[in-house]
């Protein structure tokens, strides 16, 4: 594939390269919003021919000599960041910052100063690992990441533990969402919906969900959120009204770098990104920074990849906002969130709207990108 071009191709089988590797036969794999960032050319160093996909689960079919905690035949979900388990960051449960899992760390250092963890199917900047939208995938550090799943839970119930469920959870948790707080969430895609559920489970008194897609707003409403269509209302005014003039205690940006927005700044973003004066479009983040109450927290769960213009840092500074962000430390959330899935507190089946064979991935990307047929989440089956 190249920019905007997804194809199905026959490729060689992955092989065990290191003693701590496993090969997993993929049974279910989802398309993530951040796959669209890659496809749209927002994340540098994706190459034609790379295999996408970082949300997947399946059956272990081969193990490296140093993997003692798994057996061939185990059913596993695989976290999207690749973590060694032994570096300082992994020992602090900051798995998405693993020091040792990105073989192309020098590339990330050029852009970010330091390298985060490698990620499946997420550009060469973040490791160049083949992704899970495939029949089989090599899983490095398989003794650390994959979590065994029993037969009593379906793929649909647990697949999104690989990314979306922990990402939504971390968005709320890192903002210290607690009893009585008002949470506003920009973006009602899968991450936004799970951030909503997480905020409710962590005790938020109310959640306000902001988007422009009716189907997504309806889903958030069904889950108990107040909803705002940003194309129909002035979000800043509406949030002030809904919070007695204070502003939300916590603002979660579950949109990231492809925010649409409205008005002159949205137009500026379109022009600036098209000529690469900036790489990311920041409409949701700007609005979150302006809307948040004084001393509140802005939590960024949507992916940003490079450079962003016109960020109202003055608002953040003068209102003494707390900013939290980062790729999700999936490993640390897997077991506790699996327990919540088992108890029925988190149900990904509400989010998954489409099932398609892997062979139809190009079509799946189209309907997911264009939000056709009220598409929220597509799961592909090899």
């Amino acid at each position: 594939m190249g920019k905007g071009d997804v194809r199905i191709e026959e490729v060689p089988e992955p092989r065990i390269l290191n003693p701590r590797d496993a090969i997993v036969r993929v049974t279910s794999t989802a398309i993530c919003g951040s796959d669209l960032h890659l496809l749209g050319g927002f994340v540098p160093t994706l190459q034609r021919g790379d295999v996408l996909g970082h949300e997947f689960m399946g059956e272990v079919v081969e193990l490296g000599s140093a993997v003692a905690n798994l057996e061939v035949g185990d059913r596993v979900i695989v976290p999207f960041p690749i973590a060694c388990g032994g570096c300082w960051y992994c020992r602090q449960d900051l798995h998405s910052l693993c020091d040792n899992s990105n073989p192309n760390a020098w590339m990330a250092e050029e852009l970010f100063g330091h390298s985060p963890a490698g990620i499946f199917g997420y550009s060469h900047l973040l490791g160049g690992y083949a992704g899970g939208q495939a029949e089989r995938v090599r899983v490095p550090f398989a003794d650390v990441g994959p979590l065994k799943i029993g037969p009593e839970l379906s793929d649909d119930q647990v697949l999104l533990l690989s990314d979306v469920i922990p990402t939504g959870w971390m968005a709320a948790e890192q903002a210290d969402v607690g009893r009585g707080q008002v949470v506003a969430i920009w973006g009602c895609g899968p991450v936004g919906q799970f951030a909503l559920r997480a905020s409710q489970l962590l005790g938020a008194s109310s959640v306000i969900a902001i988007d422009r897609i009716d189907a997504r707003l309806r889903m958030a409403q069904r889950l108990g959120a107040e909803v705002l269509n940003y194309e129909e209302v002035k979000v800043q005014d509406a949030l002030r009204d809904l919070t007695g003039g204070r502003g939300p205690d916590v603002c979660i940006d579950a949109v990231g770098l492809e925010a649409h927005g409205t008005g002159p700044l949205a137009l500026y973003d379109r022009v600036a990104t098209s000529v690469r004066f900036e790489t990311d479009r920041g409409a949701a983040l700007r609005e979150a920074l302006l809307a948040c109450r004084k001393g509140g927290t802005v939590s960024i769960a949507g992916v940003y990849g490079g450079y962003l213009d016109k960020v109202p840092l003055g608002a953040a500074f003068n209102k003494a906002l707390r900013l939290r962000m980062g790729q999700t430390h999936v490993h640390r959330y897997l077991r506790p969130l699996l327990e919540r899935v088992e108890r029925g507190e988190l149900d990904a089946r509400e989010i998954i709207t489409h099932h398609l064979p892997l062979d139809e991935a190009p079509h799946a990307y189209e309907i997911f990108r264009d939000k056709e047929d009220e598409c929220m989440k597509v799961v592909l089956h090899p």
């Binding site: 194809r7 021919g49 899992s101």
Partner: protein, 242 residues
């Protein structure tokens, strides 16, 4: 380095010797390739490629030398590369592994040539710089070691390694200082490719940390992929499964 004492700078100013036919041909071809690559991309690297390609083509067509002859005849220049890495291990383990570069540098780059691990042969390929050198431990203590080349005219003039404990129980900090010294074309290449060499040193230290902290070196090649673009295939150089 004092800019006025830098032979590269002073030679660049007074160079007026026209390039030879071969150099002009190479410049034209390289510049054209960069122009094609730049035109195919709409991002910053594309624009940089366009600028570099345009410069090369104009210089070759106008007869201005890209690499002045005087530079190639310059005296010795020195480049000191310093990189550090924090490793979650005891200083003794870090020092022990540091003396066994064949375990953490690519196997085709370094071979131990003495049974006690105190002497290595390094095969290097840094752009146009290719060759080999042998180096041997000349001093060592509990806090580090110093290696010197077997041949005094080697461009690798010295490697200095020091280890000290990192704060907050993070293990220890390994600091490596590599001194490169050469004249003429080799010296010019050293200066021109200094950034590449520093990146390579940083990459080597990451591999070092991976071996100590995980027991293996992280790899993502060879692995499955679909049809590559021509440029990516050339860059991969057959390293990937296809």
């Amino acid at each position: 380095m004092d800019r006025h004492a830098d032979p590269l700078v002073s030679h660049r100013r007074r160079s007026a010797t026209p390039p030879g036919e071969l150099e002009r041909a190479v410049s034209t071809m390289t510049g054209a390739a960069l122009l094609v690559r730049g035109a195919a991309r709409r991002d910053l690297t594309g624009w940089l490629a366009l600028a570099a390609g345009g410069t090369l083509v104009v210089r070759s067509l106008t007869g201005r030398r890209v690499v002045p002859r005087a530079l190639l005849e310059a005296g010795p220049v020195e480049a000191v590369l310093v990189r550090a890495v924090t490793v979650g291990a005891r200083p003794e383990s870090v020092l022990e592994l540091s003396r066994q570069p064949e375990r953490w540098l690519p196997g085709d780059l370094v071979q131990a040539v003495a049974a006690d691990g105190g002497r290595w042969r390094v095969e290097y390929a840094l752009g146009p710089l290719r060759g080999s050198w042998e180096t041997t431990l000349s001093e060592q203590s509990g806090a580090g070691w110093l290696a010197s080349p077997v041949r005094p005219d080697s461009p690798l003039a010295g490697i200095e390694v020091s280890v000290e404990e990192a704060p907050d129980a993070r293990g220890c900090e390994l600091r490596v200082r590599v001194t490169l010294r050469a004249g003429g074309a080799t010296g010019y290449s050293l200066q021109a490719l200094r950034g590449v060499a520093e990146r390579a040193l940083g990459h080597a230290l990451q591999r070092f940390r991976q071996v100590l902290e995980t027991g293996e070196v992280a790899r993502s090649h060879p692995q499955p992929h679909g049809r590559r673009g021509v440029l990516a295939a050339l860059v991969a150089g057959g390293k990937e499964a296809s």
